[in-house]
Structure formats: C-alpha cells, structure tokens
Amino acid sequence: MTAGNGAFDVVVIGAGPAGMAAAIAASQAGAAVLVLDEQAAPGGQVHRAIESRILKGRDDIDGLALVRAFRASSAERWPGAAVWQIEPMPEASDRGFTVSIIRAGAAQRLAARQVIVATGANERPVPIVGWTLPGVMTVGAAQILLKTGGNVPAGRTVIAGQGPLVLLYASQMLAAGVRPAAILDTTAPGALRSALRHLPGALADLGQIARGLGFMAAIRKAGVPVMRGVRDVKAEGRGRLEEVHHLSAGRWRTMPADLLLLHEGVTPHTHPAMSAGAAHGWDAAQLCWRPLLDGDGETTVRGLRVAGDGGGIAGWRLAAMDGERVGLAAARALGLSRRHGPSEADLQRRSARHRPLRRFLDAYNRPRTAILCPADDVVVCRCENRTAGDIRAAVEAGCLGPNQVKVMTRCGMGPCQGRECALTLSALVAEARRMTPDAVGHLTIRPPLKPLTLGELASLPASVQAAQALP
C-alpha cells in the first residue's frame, strides 16, 4: 500500500523483530508503510531463515508467528534493499525524509513522512591478537551458517567469549552432534557478585534463566572442557588459524584449533541514525553508543525514530514490544491510531517487567577493559590494518578525537566505514586522554552508508519529484 509513487507515511528500516512489529502496528493504524531489509527474507538475525528451518523451542515458534503476522499485514516489503542515505527534506524538516536505497543493482529515492530505524544489533568487535586470521569468526557468524544452511564447524573448534549467545550456540552445536574442543569463558571473576543485586528483579524472567542453566547443563553433560576466568585470548597461525593461546588460573595454555569463534555480546548498530544527525550518548552500563530517544522512540531529529536493539540492547522479545510501541507512536504523529490491540502504555508497562534481567546480564557479561581498549600490538581497524598502538601514537601526536585520528591514521576509513573499529577507536582516545567516550565523541558517519558504484549512483532519477512524476 503506497500513499503515492515512491512516497510512504512510514518507512521502516530493518525486518527484524522491532521492524516487523513496528510495521504491523503502524499499518494497523492505517499508515502506508514500507519495510526495507538487506536480507532476502524477514526475521532479522535472530529469526534468520525461520520460515525454512526446523523449529526448535518457544523462541522459534513465536518468531515464526511474528513473521507470518508481518507477511499478512498491509505493509509493503522490499527485501534485498540497502539504505545508503536518510536525509531530512531540505525545505522544512517537518515535511519528512528522503531515503536513498540500492536494490537489484539500481539506486532510488523514496519519500517518508516518518522513518523508523530498526537495524538491531551487531556483535561487539573483539579485537585480540590474530583476529584477522582466516579461521577466526564470531559466534554469531557460525550461528548464521547453521540457521541458513545447516552448516556446522568441521574441525577443532574453540569458542571464546561470554554471554547468552555463547551458551545457546554451543548447545545448538551439541544438538547437531558436533562437539566444541573447548569453551573459554571470558566472564571476569567477581562479575557474578556484582550482578547479583539485579537478580531478584530478574527472577520475573525465570523461564529465560532456566533456559540458560539448561544450556550450561547440556554443555557439562557432553563433557566439553570449559575454562573459567579466561583472559588474553590470542589467535596464531601462518595464513590461517593454527593455535589458540589464553591465560586462565594464572597459566598460559595453548591448544591447536581450526576455528576460533569469538563473542563479547552485542551493541546497537547506530550508523543509520548517526548519519541522519541524531544525537547519541555513551551507555556506561552496556559500554556502547545509543541514540538519545524520547518516550516515543523519537531521536533528536524530528520524525526519525529508533526501535528495538538499535536503541539499546534488550533482546528480541523486548525489541518486538518496543517496535510495536514506536510504530504506534509514528502513526499517532500522523494523526492515526488503531482500534484493537494493546495501547502504547500497556506495551511500556509490559516491557518494564523484563528490564531487570538485562541489567543482570549487562553486569554479569560486562566485557573486560582489554576488549574495549586492547594492547598496542592488536589490530583495531581490520580494513586498514591499524593497531591500538597507532591510535595511541596519534593521540600522543595531538589528535583530540576519533575524526582526527581517522585522518591521520586511516583508522575507520576502509570499506566497513568504522563498523568494526569505531567503538574501540572512541574508547582508546578516551582512555589516552583520560576522558569519557561521551567527551571525545564518535566518528562522524556520512552517507553513503553502503558503498555504491558510480553506475548505481547514475541510475538515480534526478529527484524525488521526478520519481513521483513517473507513471
């Protein structure tokens, strides 16, 4: 359902739980909604390929129900669409936005009165010695291979990190009949103690906690060696991973490995909202940037909203509740409301009950300082091969913030545009200058958010007006 050629009431970016729920709610309220997603099928990373794989457990069942409701809604869906620019309309910012995309090799521009960014989370960068070697990947990457194609590690596999995804993936490997060689648990000693004060509230999510304990029991039962209190994980090898080194219980250990899977939690993917000018702040509990949002998910840019994990990590169920609420708020801003279903206030109350579990996990699985501010010899910017030492030297030479370090060292200037290094870069500059990341700021994120060729750019119609004039 379009409000006109290339013009929509609400454009939602991302078809994960938050994006799908936002689109369903806004279209139920009567808005003309378009959902843009880079993937071929809806679901986001958490429910990736949910329509074509064998369902296992409550999360899969509920995820599939959400995807089906999304497909049944009147929201228009454009899979395989990458957004490369979101800009407030030049005449007056309350007129809405121009959203530039690339789809099927051609660029085009769309008009949106409201934009909801629901781009979810990325895995936190895990800059360690050797993380650029072939054979070193993230736990999330391995899980995507499992979800989309039933692909499992073939050789000796070491999992190093912490957080719910580590336990989930290890138990998924075991269920598929594949045994990790070892799990290196990087949870800091004493983390549980500092997290315990959040436990009473977290007991509202007893089911989730029981699930995590169940994964741990399955891993123990399978006899997978689990090292605790691990630090200083290093990957070594010539041309590909051969050995994993780590320090645990005061001893250096070395194990041969073909595949090392890293995971230190997830952080909001902030590039799209940053590029549109939305203000962001440093979240000291989750150690990441998040957009400054009002109660309706609106950023400091009027009409630009962020829903779900992109606004702060809370997990997929809360992301879906948040998406529904922000979808309704976007519709309300356009004078639309829906007759049935929970109100925004109901959704707010419901999601508040689940916050304590997240606060528990934030404290329990807090990454160590060395993950945020690695040693001098560690590559920080994978695209340009720049190390933490290069960045510290640039600060020593007088660079005051991430943008200056980028100009001087090329850190953050490669094809990933800082997606894998910006967090570390800000943290290192802040550490060297004895300031907070908030005070030194984030790399300026500029369009195009995705690299596009001159040919693709040339395929753009001259203006949105020109696009609208097409039959």
């Binding site: 074509s52 990325n122 895995e123 391995a142 291979l145 009949g177 993917h269 994978r382």
Partner: protein, 108 residues
Amino acid sequence: MPEPLFRKLPDLAPGARIAVTVDGEAVSVGAGDSAAAAALLAGVPATRTHPAGGEPRAPYCMMGVCFECLMVIDGAPSRQACLVTVRDGMRIERQDGRPRIPSPRSPS
C-alpha cells in the same frame, strides 16, 4: 585446498541443492546459503587478500558488517559475499588485493 572450516548436515538443510563454482571448482550448496558460505564449505583458504598488506582474509561476521568477504561474483568485484544468496551457475572468486574494475560496456 585445505579442509573446509564448515560442513553441511543434510538433515538440517532441507531444500534444493545449488551448483556453483568457487575459484573454478564445482561446489554443491543449499538454496539458503550465501556466496560466503559456499566459499567456507568449499574450503578456500581465503576469500580475499588484503589490498594493503596482501595477507589472506576470510569471512568474520557473516551479516554484512565487517566487509572481509568482498569477493568477485559473476565477474563483479567487491561484492559482500555474505549478503549474496547463491544461484545456479554462480561464479564465486577470491578477490586479490584491490578490486579490478571491469571495463565499461561500449555505448549502444
């Protein structure tokens, strides 16, 4: 080629098989696999070599974030192989160093 890092469990991979080539070698993959997954299943030691350092690199995130899986797909350079779903007959090749920009089509 070295041993692949990943293998396919047929029970967990319903659906059609797709025939692609990775660096010229025929590989059979699943309909839901990405070109980057095909490279991992084929056992290539790297999906690209770094344009500055020349060292081998391979997929890291598999979700479009890290850009380590830039490959040449059906002749087009610098494609994010983890975001490209396989098609029958797809040619997937390692990208060595800086991308080679294909010569422009002659004007018609």
